[in-house]
Symmetry: C2
């Protein structure tokens, strides 16, 4: 099918860019001696994940137990659930272990560790668990040097497998040199904690790091066993703003149709509002604020200075960044545009499927799922 034959709004996925992004990260991580454990929370799609991996069974990272179950049902076996385990979710995770999954959990407190050990024991399984390390103060985890590390390890007992961290602060960097520093700190924090655990006699076979910016710019993965990253498969405007990718690497876009002109305001109205684009404004704090997304022609080429400046539920307002005159004859009512997203995870989450483009034609529809 051609793009003209599908309805808008729709989430388009450029197969060639997806393959290129995946191959690049795989080669980058493997050449530095680590294992790539892709995060499937961005794509939530089996076909995309198969392209990201060398192997059929994983390893993968998930952000919900629903993702863990869905991917397990599609043949994936080695799964890290990378959100602090809630006591009430241990039983569900243990259920997956009983079905043959190699599911691992994460915790950052004695309370959570004790509830994992207790809940898994009650279910008659061991739930391998990593201790989350806080390498940059942006969210969760135990700080390097905090004596609670060993207390959590103690509470985990035989469930302990290692340590993990996520340098989410890398998203706030303003220069690639800063990302390199965050990446170094990420690695050092988790390697130091691994050493502390080993010195105290604990098993720490897994040392896991990850975020797309730090994975891309890390100079070294020495002491690290695996790298988790998800956004790189698609990339987005936040990554482009960080210098992690070029605009031309962004593999997803939202197909929109022009539904009106506001000539006195120099606005084009489209049918792709925040329901299709998401409310994410990740570039608002970057050097270049891309509004609700960069506007491209139907072939996917960015149109100089056009962005989605405002969005309602099912309306997008397209204007020039400088508010300048628009050549409305170029964008008649009914014509098609494409919008590059601020944040791939958030925009993709607004859609139930990908329309897969190969050579400019829609050749496949791939399901994505949501929920918990």
């Amino acid at each position: 099918m051609t793009l003209d034959e599908i309805e808008s709004p729709a989430l388009l996925l450029d197969h060639e860019k997806l393959e290129r992004n995946c191959a690049r990260m795989r080669s980058h991580v493997h050449s530095r001696g680590a294992v790539l454990r892709p995060h499937v929370k961005t794509a939530k799609c089996v076909e995309v994940t198969r392209i990201a991996l060398d192997a059929e069974e994983g390893p993968i990272t998930v952000s919900t137990l629903r993702e863990a179950e869905y991917f397990f049902d599609h043949g994936f076996r080695d799964i890290l659930y990378a959100v602090g385990m809630a006591p009430a979710k241990v039983e569900r995770a243990a259920g997956l272990v009983k079905r043959g999954a190699r599911v691992a959990a994460i915790v950052d407190s004695v309370e959570a560790a004790a509830s994992v050990a207790r809940g898994a024991g009650k279910a008659g399984v061991t739930l391998p668990t990593l201790i989350e390390i806080d390498s940059d103060g942006h969210r969760a985890g135990v700080r390097p040097g905090d004596p609670r590390l060993l207390e959590v390890a103690q509470a985990l007992g035989k469930s302990l497998r290692g340590v993990m961290t996520h340098a989410g602060d890398s998203y706030n960097c303003r220069a690639t040199d800063d990302i390199r520093k965050v990446a170094a700190r990420e690695r050092e924090a988790v390697v130091a904690c691994a050493q502390a655990l080993r010195s105290a006699g604990h098993d720490c076979s897994v040392v896991s790091v990850g975020s797309t910016p730090t994975a891309t710019f890390a100079d070294s993965f020495a002491g690290v066993t695996e790298v988790r990253t998800g956004v790189y498969m698609f990339h987005d405007l936040v990554m482009a703003g960080l210098g992690v990718c070029e605009l031309g690497d962004i593999a997803i876009s939202v197909l929109a149709t022009v539904i009106g002109h506001q000539r006195d305001k120099n606005w084009i109205l489209t049918d792709a509002g925040w329901m299709a684009l998401s409310r994410d404004r990740g570039t608002a704090s970057q050097w270049v604020d891309q509004g609700y997304g960069v506007v491209c022609d139907a072939a996917g080429e960015p149109i100089a200075d056009l962005i989605v400046t405002e969005s309602n539920q099912e309306h997008g307002i397209v204007a020039r960044r400088d508010g300048g005159a628009i050549d409305f004859e170029r964008f008649p009512v009914g014509s098609r545009l494409r919008v590059l997203p601020n944040h791939a995870c958030a925009t993709a989450a607004q859609h139930g499927e990908y329309k897969v483009l190969r050579g400019g034609k829609v050749t496949d529809t791939w399901e994505r799922f949501g929920g918990w």
Copy 2:
């Protein structure tokens, strides 16, 4: 089921508040002599819409043709599709007319009007159409006094049924007096255009206005035949910030579980991130910025000063507005919280179902749908 028995995150819907909000708006609009045409884009749920209406078949307002088809399949017949009609969508709308729906479209340009008349004619039906009027400059429509009004009417020919407007600018008001002014302007704009059309010999039996703030504070609906509004069924923090409702009127909330403490930062981590709350930050420009939502206890009572200050995909960071000390013993790992949303439409859109609460117990699960 009790709240303890359901998994988090989940979208909770308080049945009593829903009924009260719906009864209040119905009585408000009816007592002023207009018809209420609820907008189903907020709830996207048949059960909720039945509570909002007196009648089985409508009238309802929709923002997508998917909504039109879904509600038609559930017995609704009188449907206004209130987004400017794209030429490529006329055939699909005409398909609904052929199946017996009374679907109406809106347009604000000669091009769109001509494509509606042409497309419907080709399909062998008439697609009743309203001309969208721009009453506040915030989005789409023909301005009152613009000679294009009559050109659009001409292009519509026998499809023309009337005029409609949406005073979206009411969301940006800072005081209820301003909302009253926006409401008066909304009514005057559309009534003036209706008169202009009738003076030129056109049919203009429908005069439609709507937004939750203006519907709530309008002093008069004189000359108006119907009022469209959707958020009022649930209400949200933006509406509370506008003085349209009280916090206690907000009928939906997101159930969250505490997954960690960051004691040195005075943060509580929960499992309800933006995937459950949405990225909407509608209160950011109001007098009180509510972050990603107001935090309540498990019974739904707001906890003084606690809001979701930051969110990642599956993590919410809860802190006091002033960054002050938190009594962590009150919120142990595993305990439950509820979060009131900035924007009901956006938060509900992140979920596939409502867990319906009656008397504090979950008595039903109601489906909601998405897509286009």
